[in-house]
Amino acid sequence: MKEIVIDPVTRLEGHGKITIYLNDAGNVENAYFQVPELRGFERFCEGRRAEDLPIITTRICGVCPVAHHMAGAKALDAAFNVAPTETAKKLRELEYVCYYIYDHILHFYFLGGPDFVVGPDAPPAKRNILGVIEKVGLDIAKEVIKHRAYGQKITGIIGGRPTHPVSACIPGGIAKALSEEERQEIEKMVRSCVEFGKFSLKLFHDVVLKNVDYVNLIKSDPYNLQTYYMGTVDQNNKVNFYDGDIRVVDPTGTEFVKFAPHEYLDVIREHVEPWTYVKLPYLKKIGWKGLTTGPDSGIYRVGPLGRLNAAEGMATPLAQEEYEFMYKTLGGKPVHATLAFHWARLIELMYATERALELITDKAITSKDIKNKPGNPGEGVGIVEAARGTLIHHYQLDANALAKKVNLVVATTHNAPGICMSIKNAAKGLIHNGEVNQGLLNMVEMAFRAYDPCFACATHFAIGEMPLEAKIFDNEKRLVKTIRR
């Protein structure tokens, strides 16, 4: 049996590790995706003050702290049995969609961009943000940096801090109202973001969709996985990031279940494997059937494509138009193509900017009515859609409003089984009779980063390329070949 270990980022702790086993014929027997890190937040959040939970949990991830902050805020609303005022809810949602703006820009241009804009066949040295700049030009690169910074700036104005925000840790509200001055400043930035959203879609059309090879790659077998999908929807079953019920569809796209946040334990279970620190979630009703696909397996996927598949459309016009176009192009719903995550991400970027404009031009947004009086502390579940998927915070508070128990189901966790299988698929598509070539690393990496798993995201942002190494061992565990790039 041969063993291939792909250690992203030079064995850096906190990052995924991929091991692929070949059988004696030299074909893929199995693939493992390991997360070498445990944080223990669920334990050390115990005993903390309720209002500290949305602040402490942001430190789970510096890439998506706003998601933890809002899931925490909503869990507190539920635990104190209080709904935020109309204005507070709108401010939180505005901050939230602006977090999507910067996060999706970061991912598409710095991470996914290299694969598509520069091209999957380009030499590794070009498949990074510098290659993107070369292809699209410095002026556009400046626009990318500018609009990412806008998103961060707006979350900072509302949340108090761009990374690890604080202002929504108050059950039933938000601590600071928006001034008219700030509103005008934000509106300017948001209008510019809407244009940038349109531009990004056009870029995707011109560079990706006009290239038959790319479209075929998206549709190709190694990148397809038939699973269930999960995402949050509004009352019209349109995608919503901040609030709503959670809808799950089966691999044919039919609704499997729709549940309110407090019902999550009826739907989701997490399985533990001894070879990874990350738990593997599955649909409780179907059960854990191992890492397999199809309707008989309880594995589901979340994140941009998961959300679009689980919903019936987008709530804003331009995003809806593109939503319809994507499904038309890729052969109807649901789309199982993992690489379509990138397209879905841009549709969501469009929605986030359009929604931000609706909110910032809403009269209620500058009202001073930002807090409702909390009730007595109890138990509450808060769910938001993090950029990478459904995020669940579940708090049980005692009479002093201290945390008795905390449970967290984090976005990337939901996708861990899917990532594992996508890697296996990609490896199978490229490894035959013991022949492993350089392309394997690109293919595996593309499968992996379509999901934008947090650790990889933080890994990629600077240069946009993940240093990879594959070691191939023979059955005596002797190293026979190392591929690096």
Binding site: T19, N30, G62, W275, V409, A458, T459, F461, A462
Partner: protein
Amino acid sequence: MIAIGENMSSEKLKIAFYWAASCGGCEIAVLDVNEKILDVVAKADIVFWPVAIDIKYKDVEAMPDKSIDACFFNGAIRTSENEHMAKLLRQKSKILIAFGSCACDGCVKGLANLWDKNTVFERAYRETPSTQNPDYVTPQTSFKVQEGELELPEFYDTVKTLPQTVDVDYTISGCPPPIPYILKMFEGLLTGNLPPKGSSFLPNKSICDECPREKKDRKLSAIKRIYEIDDDFKTCFWDLGVICMGPATRAGCGAQCPNVNIPCTGCDGPGPRVVDQGAAAISALASIATDPEVVNQAVDPIGTFYKYSLANSILRRKVRKK
């Protein structure tokens, strides 16, 4: 004083970044320096940055001692690997900077020191209501799957800070460190104009000095929670009965939290001349309480006063619970 600027005119500064047990926010903060990072890159060579540059540990091991001019180390020390890298980078660097709250003080992850590995595992892999694990399977450092053997790194029971692990030249705390002071630090390094060893790159003031809220008589007769008060948006939180870590916390962020009407929770770390951030806050509380009873009203004192600094406090566990 460490001489790093000596051959600056002829040679570029060699800098390194390393990321131990971290959330990634400190790396994002370096990105948020935005276009100014280009000035830094123009004047310095990044010789090691595992998240961005493909340089292996063994390449670092092969570097001559003290050949890195400045190393920015973020994240706490949790695993044997973190500790190994801290020692290695100390040996290879003229200047080692503890970057961010995790490296300086252990940050919120240090609160895990109230438990140990087994109790953390039990919560994560057995007790949590969404977990289905009747046989109590837990991740193993080495596990034989059907096809071979898979390995995971081992975690220490205790979170440690960088200064507890190796000698550190400078600190810049904050979760993440405030951008203006990251810039100031880069500037200092590039010009060789550095403060005395052991200094923080954050200002020698407390958050209260940066806070616009008005301090009044500060007589505290009852402690309230932030969601219980009628905030007038201008009076000091202590005067409103709410615990604020401002007096015990080093300035630098510009009082970001009070500026959006949330008390400071202390992420910039102990203030100047403060040895123990939590103890300083508790004595501040005791000095303004009208009655000793009031102090007892502070629920969760550890999480409140030592949120970011438990691993670096006098309370830190010397012997771990078995």
